[in-house]
Amino acid sequence: MDLTDKRAQLREFVTRSLGTPNLAGDDDIFEVGGATSLFSVELVIFIEDSLGVPLADDDLERDNFATINAMAAMIDRKHATP
């Protein structure tokens, strides 16, 4: 799966899960999107196992998960420096 596919799948997963099809890339999912702690668990699993992007201890920070763009940027970074 290339980077573009991963970003598209991430967006689809987040908007479908939160029921917010119009969520903007910079909207804070924990505020605007109503993401719960259970969703955080799903999100970590999705990024690690469905997208195949292993997360390190210090990746698990709110800022990296707050918006679709932030998550995509984290995936980009990890893609560039695996």
Binding site: T36, S37, V41, I45, D57
Partner: protein, 383 residues
């Protein structure tokens, strides 16, 4: 599609069942009566590597797959729900440390937890904060390289036994929920036993009061910037799975006892099994138990495959199985008649234990708020 245990899972189930029958079941009634489980049992659980069994082999665990882990809970839970609940709380802590702790924490704590040298308990609930976990009042304030923790926890399973608590407190700086590994012998930490409870009476409940307890900053599990509630949700995800299987265990034990009893108890010159109303009850009990187990299998499979849907599946499994255990254990008592309310039959204990299963790790009513949100995800026109 194939719903069939692997040969390894079948072997595991036999091993778990044999252990439970030999070492746990004989002590279950005494555990219920005395409000504690024997240290000899705890040591034996540790020796056989049943504590922290999900943890990776490199940290001393057994690296048990999720289905085998569920079978472990069913086999142990059939014998004694209190002993099974020790696995639940201890393993929730292992799960949080393994998934969210840093390398140093994993290397320091996981071998101690998997060997049973340290018993862990999960301290979340407070006198004024139950289902609304986000309202916890216990605070952790960073002072230099230490956190100062103050607050009160209650209804903490195995608080009387624990060497260390995964304690959830409000971060004084960020205001978010944070988890800390707090040794039970920390200055300022006091455990007060809670006794004479309805069910899971051997789970050695306690109240934990912390007065300016100092722990190193390195005791914090995960980054201070971690998404709010991730640590609680991670631990509870495993706990819920464990409780779902524990509920199946209660249901299975009640079904088995009810079939045996109804086959040998004669009324009107026939075994009561021959009476249609008894058969109607047995049918419901049997079908519900199998349905609950299938939901647990689904949740376990998805978790093992690391699918996000495991979260929803586990919620549904716990919701259904705990309700089923309550209904089935009540029917089991009814089928056993006067014997069912006596200490002569374990269904009396299972009935009381089943009541607890609908309350812990997310009450039935909380699940009824949460699960429909997942339904909407699947059935919404916007999907």
């Amino acid at each position: 599609m194939r719903i069939q245990l692997t040969s390894e899972q079948l072997e595991n189930r036999s091993r778990f069942g044999a252990f439970a029958e030999e070492h746990i079941a004989p002590l279950a009634a005494a555990s219920d009566r005395n409000g504690r489980i024997e240290m000899s049992v705890v040591k034996r659980l540790a020796r056989e590597r049943f504590l922290g069994s999900r943890v990776a082999v490199s940290f001393g665990g057994d690296g048990l797959d999720m289905i085998s882990y569920g079978l472990l809970h069913e086999e142990f839970g059939k014998a004694c729900s209190s002993t099974r609940s020790l696995l639940t709380v201890h393993d929730m802590v292992c799960e949080a440390v393994e998934r969210l702790g840093n390398e140093n924490m994993r290397e320091q704590w996981l071998p101690l937890l998997t060997s049973g040298e340290r018993i862990a308990a999960f301290a979340l609930t407070e006198p004024a904060s139950g289902s609304d976990a986000s309202s916890i009042a216990t605070t952790a304030v960073l002072e230099g390289d230490e956190y100062l923790i103050t607050g009160k926890k209650t209804w903490i399973s195995f608080a009387q036994l624990a060497d260390v608590f995964l304690l959830i407190a409000r971060d004084g700086e960020h205001g978010t929920m944070a988890g800390f590994l707090v040794p039970a012998d920390t200055d300022g930490l006091v455990v007060r036993p809670i006794s004479d409870i309805l069910g899971l009476r051997g789970s050695m409940l306690g109240e934990v009061e912390l007065t300016e307890c100092r722990v190193p900053a390195s005791s914090r599990v995960g980054s201070p910037k971690m998404p709010a509630g991730l640590i609680v949700a991670t631990a509870l995800q495993l706990g819920r799975y464990s409780v779902a299987w524990g509920s199946v265990a209660i249901a299975e034990a009640c079904v088995a006892s009810s079939f045996r009893y109804s086959s040998r108890r004669y009324q009107f010159n026939v075994p009561i099994f021959e009476h249609q109303l008894i058969r109607a009850m047995l049918t419901e009990m049997l079908a519900e138990t199998k349905a609950a187990r299938l939901l647990c299998y689904e949740a376990g499979y998805l978790a093992q495959e690391r699918k996000p849907d495991a979260v929803e599946a586990t919620l549904i499994a716990k919701f259904f199985a705990s309700k089923a255990a309550a209904r089935i254990s009540a029917d089991a008592v009814q089928i056993h008649g006067a014997n069912g309310v006596s200490k002569n039959y374990a269904v009396e204990r299972h009935f009381r234990d089943a009541r607890v299963m609908e309350i812990i790790e997310g009450s039935t009513q909380i699940q009824q708020i949460t699960i429909p949100k997942y339904g909407l995800r699947s059935y919404s026109e916007n999907r």
